[in-house]
């Protein structure tokens, strides 16, 4: 009977040698080693043998089963290696074919710059205060120390509404009065806010000027706010916004709602202050107007200017965005051409 085992052994190993794929391997295993396979069938014949042959035959079939299992594993390993080798050898693709595009979205550049501003100011304790776009003349001008016929009203071309008392805010500064009145506790509490928002001016729309633009205004009120604090705070902003060693220049200027007033220039971050077309070869870029809150404005906000002081500043995020990205035309901002928006 060991002859039968020997025949099956030769036959199975022969067949195994001929397998080349994992599918064939699986077929081979079920034929020889499966539940209803050939080796199993030999086990089934044990009962029909004479008792004295059974043990030896059983051992023979067991040995055959072990041998075939081992051979199978070896063969399986070999085929796996061959398949892998072949895949590595021949499975090359054209990596220069274009990618499948993923659907991306994005934030408007104005939003991006505003967020940058807001996070820097938040780190310094300035929280966002939102105010009206449509404002009362009083808040936009008179309470900010710009009475009717004040020469500085000419600096701003205003959109007026059919209600002569109401206009579109020309700057975010009216929010100063509203913030002081709302948060100041009748002139008894300190304030630190930024006022971001859309502003409007009746101008010719050109590559450099828009009828609608955003501003970020800042306001700090306290019992002990100094002009040196204003300089320190703005310089800190410039370091975080532009670069850690950004040089800042302060120039005397005039805004009706601050006194003393100053313009803030930062060393041109495009040429490093060497002078280029963008900074008009001066090495400086103007980034903010600022000053100590005018006593009249403090009074109008409910504070006693002999006890309280404050500073305020205003910045134009579009301008900074334009400088940073080399945007030549301010009309791109609200033009919403997706070819522009997709570049951010």
């Amino acid at each position: 009977m060991s002859q039968t085992v020997e025949v099956l052994r030769n036959q199975a190993l022969d067949a195994l040698q001929k397998t080349t794929t994992s599918d064939e391997l699986v077929q081979w295993r079920s034929r020889y080693l499966g539940r209803k396979g050939a080796v199993g069938a030999l086990f089934g014949t044990i009962g029909k043998l004479p008792a004295e042959e059974r043990a030896a035959f059983g051992q023979g079939v067991n040995a055959l089963q072990s041998e075939l299992r081992k051979a199978f594993e070896e063969r399986e390993q070999l085929i796996r290696e061959q398949v892998l080798a072949q895949d590595l050898e021949e499975g090359e693709i054209d990596i220069t074919l274009p990618a499948y595009p993923r659907q991306m979205g994005g934030l408007h550049p104005a939003t991006r710059t505003h967020r940058e501003f807001q996070s820097i100011w938040a780190e310094m304790g300035f929280q966002v205060y939102q105010s009206h776009d449509v404002e009362e003349d009083d808040f936009n001008f008179t309470l900010l120390n710009l009475p009717p016929h004040h020469p500085a009203r000419d600096m701003q071309d205003t959109f007026y509404t059919t209600n002569p008392r109401v206009l579109l805010r020309t700057h975010t500064s009216p929010g100063q009065i509203r913030a002081m009145r709302e948060l100041g506790g009748g002139g008894s509490k300190p304030i630190r806010v930024i006022l971001p928002g859309m502003c409007y001016r009746q101008e010719q729309v050109t590559a450099r000027s828009e009828i609608q633009f955003t501003q970020v205004e800042g306001l700090a009120i306290g019992r002990n706010i100094r002009m040196s604090d204003l300089k320190g705070t703005i310089s800190e902003f410039a370091k975080r916004m532009f670069k850690a060693d950004a040089k800042v220049r302060y120039r005397a200027s005039y805004f009706p709602f601050t006194e003393p007033s100053m313009e803030v220039d930062v060393e041109c971050f495009l040429c490093g202050g060497e002078g280029c077309r963008v900074c008009k070869y001066t090495g400086w870029l103007e980034i903010a107007g600022s000053g100590m809150v005018h006593p009249t404005v403090l009074r109008n906000g409910g504070y006693d200017p002999s006890l309280w002081s404050g500073f305020a500043f205003g910045m134009g995020p579009e301008r900074i965005t334009m400088l940073k990205h080399g945007i030549q035309d301010i009309r791109y901002f609200w033009g919403n051409d997706l070819r522009f928006l997709k570049q951010f």
Binding site: G125, H149, L183, S228, R249, P260, H294, P295
Partner: protein
């Protein structure tokens, strides 16, 4: 204002390069926008950057001041002459020239009084006077009609002073002139273009600028003489003044010059006026302009004889408001209606001039004028502002009076003006001057304690130092126990009498004079205000992030619109679904189609989509912005809206097999719904539902209202085809949503609970139900969920099918169901029981059949 540095040097001896001066002025608030060089080299100042100037630098060896001794005829040419020039050399130089203004000296022999010219030697570099385009050239010797010539007398154009090339420069004789002196020392100059903020009215003149220069540099100020030689009869008998509105005309002064000659001004005067952009006319008018720019006090000259004629005797100058319907023909030739508030200079016969703005034509100076009455007055700046706005006129006088000229300056202007006129035109000045001064402004003295200066500036300066800074600006100061009492100089109107505001005014001056760079940089030591939560800002930014993450781009539109465009959102015959409110209407819009503030984001979004359609296969965009609803309050409501717009292809085309050339799927209603639900999910808003929309801008069958806790938040869906057509969006369907951001804020859960992660195995199976075609999908799902009970974890619709073998009027909905027991392993038996219940409920409640 154009400010020649040569002019400023009349009043202050500047000891630093002009480039550094420009920087210091800029930092002190007088912004120097531009430097124009005439002949002088641009200096390099360490640490200072400025644009390179490409002007002609005058060679100090080859461009010289020279006396034109004689002009001779050219033997061979009528249009040329020979100028015999003394340039300091051994012999006279003979220049062949066609300069028309030299011809009149021909044949006079030696010219006397002497005249001087700008002489260029051979090899000198000059601008080519005959070239239309700016071109430099080097002077070379050549023959001109038979006479060899190697040098020339120059025109202004050849030297880069102006475009003038008709004649050459002829300077009137001055004692200081020496033949052969470098021309750069005589005519070399730098012109500063200074921009003044409205608070700097006092600086709007050469002396005004010089005063700042002196203060900033700590130098002495040298004023011109205000004496005048008056040898005529007393003026009081020859003219009188009657001021009727002292508020509007606080001061009026007159001086009188008799028997003068009106003629061209000398070179120095014409040259200065041209350098600052003024056109010289005659000596009288030139002096009025000159003093306007020198002192900042505008003058006006009348022909005295014409006034005598009008009055029939010695005139009385009256300043008053117009009579009803009164008109005046002004110097610019316009006959003007004079509103009600325009202050006039008049005589007994009628109006003569608009006070502080422009003179009248009738009494102006002419070539025949012999006797000049000179006005120097002060006018209320607001009144002048109203007039120039109303009359739409701008003059050098009005530019100054509208900002404010201190009345103290009137008498200075009168005195200096009449003396200059006498010097330039001859004649006799009447003795004295008529000075009506009914409303002198109050003198302002401010008390400023040193600790206030240091507390507000954050500096540590001494009382003396602060007082010295103010004295440099001509404040009078008195120190009393660490308090500075500073009295404003009489050329300033900008120091407030309010004690606290006045202190701020002085602080600014102290900081400017000391230099803003001297103020240290400190970190705020003040109490930090309480920090608040800011949910409005938080949600706005969160929504932006979510939508950008979903593949949408943010747009920001104009907030302007117009009624007609917004009306286009309502299809023919339908009722408008826009907010029931008035528009905020702009009375001076930038364009007629931007004359109201929007009621909806929809118009801007559709217009943006139409604009982008040319370049974009697919558009998925959103905007968060305000709309403006005018109701009963003074100010409109400004609710924040979220607009979402999808149109075009769902995916970008690729080369992938199966994609190529095939029509890509178009975005549809369910894409938009997916964006909305993803947004709600990210905001953890669970309780939302839909109903059919009634918004007329949408397709009635393909739009919905979004409800949060059963309250409407906005409509979404396919834009009504007619509306889409009107916005040039007919090519592909447009899906749009507009939601109230405040509602999203209201219903978002900032503290949501998470689902525990189950470890028990789930059983998945599919079920297909055939229902009537008009049964709503969410109805079917609800029945399934209710019947499936606690074990049914998830229901996903994966197929909607109509057509054979599904009977007509029916549809097949196929769901994959997930059963899972959170506590134990679910048995097939339990799952089968749930399935049976579902099928039973569907049969009962939906009359559904199981599709096999």
């Amino acid at each position: 204002m154009l400010v020649p540095i040569s002019w400023i040097k009349d009043y202050v001896d500047i000891d630093i390069p002009v480039e550094l001066l420009a920087e210091k002025l800029t930092v002190a608030g007088l912004e120097v926008a531009h430097l124009r060089y005439i002949g002088l080299p641009q200096a390099d100042v360490p640490g200072l950057r400025m644009p390179r100037s490409d002007h002609l630098v005058w060679d100090r060896e080859k461009l010289l001041l020279a006396r034109v001794v004689e002009v001779k005829a050219h033997p061979n040419a009528d249009k040329l002459v020979l100028a015999m020039v003394d340039y300091g050399g051994e012999e006279l130089e003979q220049c062949v020239t066609g300069a028309s203004n030299l011809f009149k000296y021909q044949g006079q022999g030696e010219i006397n009084p002497p005249i001087w010219g700008a002489f260029a030697m051979e090899g000198a570099r000059v601008w080519d006077g005959h070239s239309d385009k700016p071109r430099q050239m080097t002077l070379k010797g050549k023959e001109l009609r038979g006479i060899y010539n190697k040098s020339m007398v120059c025109s202004e154009k050849e030297l880069g002073i102006s475009e003038e090339h008709e004649g050459v420069i002829i300077l009137d004789h001055e004692e200081r002139y020496v033949a052969g002196a470098p021309l750069a020392e005589i005519l070399g100059d730098v012109i500063l273009d200074i921009e003044f903020t409205p608070n700097l009215a006092r600086c709007f003149s050469m002396i005004g600028v010089a005063r700042e220069v002196a203060a900033i540099l700590g130098l002495e100020m040298r004023y011109p003489s205000f004496e005048f030689l008056a040898e005529g009869d007393p003026i009081e008998e020859q003219v009188k003044i009657d001021i009727r509105e002292p508020e509007l005309n606080p001061r009026f002064t007159l001086t009188l010059l008799r028997d003068t000659e009106v003629k061209p001004s000398p070179f120095w005067m014409r040259h200065r006026l041209r350098l600052i952009g003024q056109r010289p006319r005659n000596n009288i008018v030139d002096v009025t302009n000159y003093i306007t720019f020198e002192l900042g006090q505008p003058l006006h000259a009348f022909d005295y004889d014409k006034l005598l004629n009008r009055a029939g005797g010695p005139p009385t100058i009256i300043t008053r408001l117009p009579e009803a319907g009164e008109r005046l023909e002004t110097l610019d030739g316009l006959a003007r209606d004079l509103g009600e508030e325009t202050i006039l200079v008049a005589d007994t016969a009628g109006a003569l001039a608009i006070g502080g703005v422009i003179g009248g034509g009738e009494t102006e100076i002419s070539e025949n004028t012999r006797n000049v009455l000179l006005e120097a007055a002060a006018w209320n700046n607001i009144s002048v502002r109203k007039t120039i706005k109303q009359q739409r006129i701008h003059t050098e006088a009005s530019a100054r009076f509208s900002r404010g000229v201190h009345p103290s300056q009137s008498i200075l202007g009168s005195s200096r003006g009449i003396e200059l006129m006498r010097q330039l035109g001859g004649g006799t000045v009447a003795a004295g001057l008529v000075d009506a001064y009914p409303a002198p402004p109050q003198t302002v003295t401010v008390a400023l304690p040193i600790e206030r200066i240091n507390a507000l500036l954050g500096m540590d300066i001494e009382t003396d130092q602060a007082a010295e800074a103010l004295r440099r600006l001509e404040f009078e100061t008195r120190i009393d126990d660490d308090v500075i009492h500073a009295t404003a100089p009489d050329h300033r109107l900008d120091i407030s009498a309010d004690p606290i505001v006045g202190q701020a005014d002085l602080l600014e001056e102290i900081a400017r004079v000391l230099g803003y760079d001297r103020i240290p940089e400190t970190i705020m030591a003040d109490e930090m205000p309480p920090q608040r939560e800011n949910p409005g800002v938080f949600i706005e930014e969160r929504v932006r992030d979510i939508l950008a993450g979903l593949g949408l781009y943010e747009v920001i539109n104009y907030r302007f619109s117009n009624r007609e465009t917004e009306a286009m959102l309502t299809p023919d015959g339908a009722a408008s679904s826009l907010p029931d409110a008035e528009y905020v209407e702009i009375v001076n819009p930038a364009a007629s189609d931007r004359d109201v503030l929007r009621h909806t984001l929809m118009t801007n979004m559709l217009e943006t989509a139409a604009n982008n359609a040319r370049y974009q296969r697919t558009q998925q965009v959103f905007e968060i912005g305000k709309v403006y609803l005018q109701r009963d309050e003074v100010l409109p409501e400004e609710p924040l809206r979220l607009g979402i717009l999808l149109t075009g292809a769902r995916d970008q085309p690729t080369w992938r097999v199966g994609d190529a050339g095939g029509a890509a799927d178009a975005l549809d209603f369910y894409d938009l719904k997916g964006v909305i639900e993803s947004l709600l999910e990210a905001l953890h808003i669970d309780d939302f539902s839909y109903e059919r929309a009634t918004h007329s801008s949408f397709h009635p069958g393909r739009s919905a209202n979004l409800l949060l806790r059963r309250a409407p938040v906005g409509a979404f869906g396919e834009i009504h085809p007619q509306v889409a057509q009107r916005f040039r969006l007919a090519d592909s369907k447009v899906f749009y949503a507009e939601l109230e951001v405040a509602r999203l804020l209201q219903y978002q859960q900032r503290l949501h609970k998470i689902e525990p992660l189950l470890t028990t195995p789930a059983i998945l199976e599919d079920i297909a139900l055939i229902v009537d075609a008009n049964v709503a999908a969410h109805e079917v799902e609800r029945v399934i969920r209710q019947a499936g009970g606690r074990l049914l974890k998830d229901v996903t619709l994966f197929d909607v099918y109509t057509g054979d073998p599904v009977p007509p009027g029916k549809k097949s909905l196929a769901y994959s169901l997930t059963y899972q027991d959170p506590e134990r392993t679910l048995t097939d038996k339990n799952a089968a029981r749930a399935r049976k219940k579902i099928i039973g409920a569907a049969r009962r409640r939906l009359r559904a059949e199981l599709r096999s």
